[in-house]
Symmetry: C2
Subunit: 417 residues, 2 copies
């Protein structure tokens, strides 16, 4: 059983990981299948939007100049041009001349000759004549062609993860397909003689009776698949016993097959963590093993056939810490995204001690008081305590150059998705 | 063309909407399919976890009392019991007696008789004898049975949207299936003679040439489907012309069919908004039409055959505002969730004027300076400007009882998902 006496810093580990995150290829998909996908091209607008000058309010299209001087006491009188069967007619058939107006609804093209819209509430119709009670400068309540988006303008840049309103923008621009990064496929293996599959085992009863107390459920492969899911395609290979040859064969086959990268978690039995990194060394190159972070210290990373492989700790909270701090940035980089999550400033309730040189992943519960958020660290005895995750709202990171966070200090909390 | 002179308050609109959000039924699904689904039952642990007292560190299992007085100068000497083929043997075959120790790795069951683990780095092995350099109190570095979760404890409450680490917890507890709320099916229709489908039309070229400038793409139905997708199953019915009978038939058929609720957006042509609410009145009951909010004022809501229907504004930003402020809480309530999003406190860069009695939905761009976030409101001339969404990072709400937000004031920003 080795100790990790020569740890690399978290920053160095992150640099190493990102240096090996080669972007995935492109694919062209329908815009309405692209929610949460990452653009691999700048989207330029092929059109002006709005495509024509249009009314921004319900009312009457007028020549603004005609309304100057209008007041409730001295309304301006305009002739209403009627016979407006539809929006096309409004554009194509009507001209608004001096002293005239045309009824118009929000979104309709503004007829030729007019340059402003007077809101309905500042008018009154009386026998085919409109009384206007307020002056309206030219341009008022008109959305000019191209005001939203101009033809040729980059509206959504490459590297953007598409949100719901971006899908609306793509629709508005008739962008039938978009080029996005292919979703990488990530192979996931849990190793450990003590693991059994909770989907197929009914060991819970046995546990309750205490007859096989040393077997535990494989939660890691399911959990890592769920963490991976929003970012890439998880391919859960399942549990392998602590048998180096079987693990080698499984990794080789996954990396020769569909998997662009792998996550392998170690068991907790004697030596199992070391033989995983031995397996990586035997099949390829181990770039690091042991990172000055807590939890997550026994994290390793290597390259087999130019494909990256993470060796993650078997303890679930350590595996999550390694996922959040190393695997997530890696998966984002694979797809051309910088980690864009906005972090919540929150005030530490208690001192959060750490050690200089070590990066800490601290689960916190948030409390809101008088519009400010407070972060209460969840203290537990080890990284096996998964309830420290489920009871928390997010995590904060104590950087390697800090001795800790003092009570009252503001720290940046990453919220769970 | 009606005006909404009698608007109800946003709070009243929200109350009305939530009063008609009947929860969906239950279904039992596999735990590993349950990411982002909402629990319809409390999950109680069937087991203690850890299921046995286990080592929280690599080292040696000892009787803590034996180490008292140990120091680098005067190490305590313990006899190492060897022959530990695996974790089960450690539990079942070994007893640690006074003056003895057993090598142990993180996660392994602590052998009978021992009550603490001394970390590897505070020991040295020499000829079958262990030198211990530090005293270790009983209980140290041992995760006791049930420390993470106790049998019978509620670990995940009903109403919780399941996150990745919750999936890990369900696996750990051998919770093969979970009862969740069924995802509601939400019918989505865009209406308007001016709309064409961007997926099947190639009108962009025509736009560029200006020959049919009055036709615009239906972005709303695609966008609302994307907004709905994380919360419920969108069923995009598509575009309907401004023909009350056709719209009636489509709504009737959707609500008699699979749709639990509907979102219908109005066109921007004269009167189309009103006839949508007329259609709702003809088929069922219109509960409100016109909300004191901006954008989103012409939002309506009704009940047809006991199924809720939202009449949303045709302008995309107004439709989004109505979605975020009324439809999202409704969809969350359908699935038994309170709106749990944590909002980011941010300092207003500029005055954001509003009117007392009106609720404003303000798009903002965030800037970070010295650890604090600043919110820059995006000012645009109307609710048709979709780029005001794509250029923003989130939104803030100016409540009806406020005259606005002053520059320098802190407001809560909801970040887009």
């Amino acid at each position: 059983m080795k100790l990790f006496r020569t740890l690399i810093s978290y920053d160095e580990a992150l640099r190493t990981v990102l240096a090996h995150a080669s972007r995935t290829g492109y694919e062209e998909i329908r815009f309405d299948d692209a929610l949460n996908r990452v653009l691999a091209e700048d989207i330029r607008s092929p059109i002006d939007s709005p495509p024509f000058d249009r009314a921004a309010m319900d009312g009457y299209a007028i020549r603004g100049e005609d309304s100057f001087g209008a007041s409730p006491q001295r309304p301006v009188l305009l002739t209403i041009r009627k016979g407006v069967p539809g929006p096309e007619a409004a554009v194509e058939c009507l001209d608004v001349r001096e002293g005239e107006c045309v009824p118009i609804a929000t979104g309709m093209p503004v007829p030729r000759g007019s340059n402003a819209v007077v809101m309905l509430e500042y008018t009154k119709e009386r026998d085919g004549t409109l009384e206007v009670y307020r002056p309206v400068p030219p341009g008022k309540n008109v959305s000019v062609r191209g005001e939203d988006v101009k033809a040729g303008e980059v509206v959504l840049p490459a590297g953007r993860r598409l949100r719901a309103h971006d899908i609306g923008m793509l629709a508005m621009l008739f962008q039938r397909t978009v080029r996005v990064y292919q979703r990488a496929t990530i192979g996931i293996i849990s190793t450990g003689d003590e693991l059994i599959d909770p989907r197929t085992s009914s060991v819970a009863d046995e546990h309750a009776q205490g007859t096989r107390p040393s077997k535990i459920a494989d939660s890691n492969s399911y959990m890592l698949a769920a963490f991976t899911h929003p970012l890439a395609n998880p391919h859960r290979i399942g549990i392998l016993q602590d048998d180096p040859e079987a693990i080698k064969a499984a990794i080789r086959s996954a990396l020769e097959g569909a998997c662009d990268a792998m996550l392998v978690t170690g068991g907790s039995s004697v030596g199992s963590r070391d033989f995983l990194t031995d397996v990586v060394e035997a099949l390829g190159e181990l770039l690091f093993h042991g990172v000055a972070m807590r939890p997550g210290e026994p994290t390793g990373f290597g390259i087999i056939n130019r494909r990256p492989i993470f060796v993650l700790p078997g303890y679930p909270v350590a595996a999550i810490a390694a996922f959040e701090l190393l695997v997530r940035p890696f998966l984002l980089a694979l797809h051309g995204v910088a980690d864009e999550r906005i972090r919540l400033p929150a005030i530490a309730r208690k001192d959060i001690p750490s050690a200089v040189g070590r990066t800490d992943f601290v689960r916190v519960k948030l409390q809101k008081e008088a519009g400010r958020y407070y972060a209460e660290p969840i203290r537990v005895s080890g990284s096996g305590i998964l309830s420290s995750m489920t009871k928390s709202d997010g995590f904060l990171v104590v950087a390697a150059n800090k001795e800790g966070i003092a009570a009252g200090e503001t720290a940046a909390v990453t919220l769970y998705e």
